[in-house]
């Protein structure tokens, strides 16, 4: 089954790397939305449905933790799995993200195999 993903990172290079890793992991991506921070991502979700969200933590304007806190207010995002992708190794940030609904996290640097290990299980058969 094909999926639509939203990739949130302030680095456009990193967004491309994440997209490529998802494809290398064998996911059939029909469409990929990109956002440079949490606020842009919330705006994308107002008008679009996605099956998966991958989100950086440290970003300007609105970081990944604030984004995930605000996500329950977006009707289009109900039940959509969020996986955090971050350089940040801080346990407290990870715990905070998971407590607000993130389904997992991937630490940079990462391999396509690691992306697959963390993303495929949360898609519930959609992959």
């Amino acid at each position: 089954m094909s999926i639509t993903a939203l990739i949130i990172d302030d680095s456009s290079v990193m967004r491309k790397i994440v997209e490529r890793s998802l494809r290398q992991a064998g996911l059939d991506l029909t469409k990929v939305f990109e956002a440079g921070n949490g606020a842009e991502a919330l705006a994308v979700l107002q008008d679009n449905l996605v099956d998966l969200i991958l989100c950086d933590i440290n970003m300007p304007v609105m970081d990944g933790l604030e984004f995930i806190k605000q996500l329950p207010n977006v009707a289009n995002a109900k039940g959509v799995p969020v996986v955090m992708i971050t350089t940040e190794g801080s346990e407290s940030h990870v715990v905070e993200a998971l407590s607000h609904g993130a389904r997992g996290y991937i630490r940079k640097p990462f391999t396509a195999e690691q992306v697959k290990e963390h993303v495929v299980p949360v898609l519930g058969g959609k992959s």
Binding site: V13, T87, G89, E91, R107, K108, P109
Partner: protein, 161 residues
Amino acid sequence: MKSAHELLAGSDSRETWTPLLEMATREVFELMLGCQLAVNSAAEQPAPEVTAMVGLAGMLCGVLSVRCDGKAAALMTSKMLGVDLDKVGAEVSDALGEVCNMVAGNFKNKIAGLAEGCMLSPPTVVTGSDYSLHSMAESPGLEISLLFERMPVVISLEIHS
């Protein structure tokens, strides 16, 4: 909370940290760029045409920088994006900033207590070689030089109080 000086004064931290910085750098290049870095046995120095810097604050205060020449930076970008070298353009600064950010994050995550007690700034990237960098660092800092596709890449950690 221990200061950078206390951390550095502890046991053989400097001797321990240098290999960790090298390991952190090698892992980033292997996992994100798909290439192995070689030892820079001739201690070649790059023309510092692209310098990426990430600040560290908290238990360890300082600046981690990655510097290389423009050709190396463009090739890194090409490998990160999976595109031909001639397709690389303005993304070079973004790519080198991300390399620096990942090296800094990977390095601090290898030292007990730093993952939680040290924050990273967004990367800053300087392009061009006609500049001087003056550090107010209070410790000698760490520096490693490796070869990326036969081109030198220097990773430095300036440590402040």
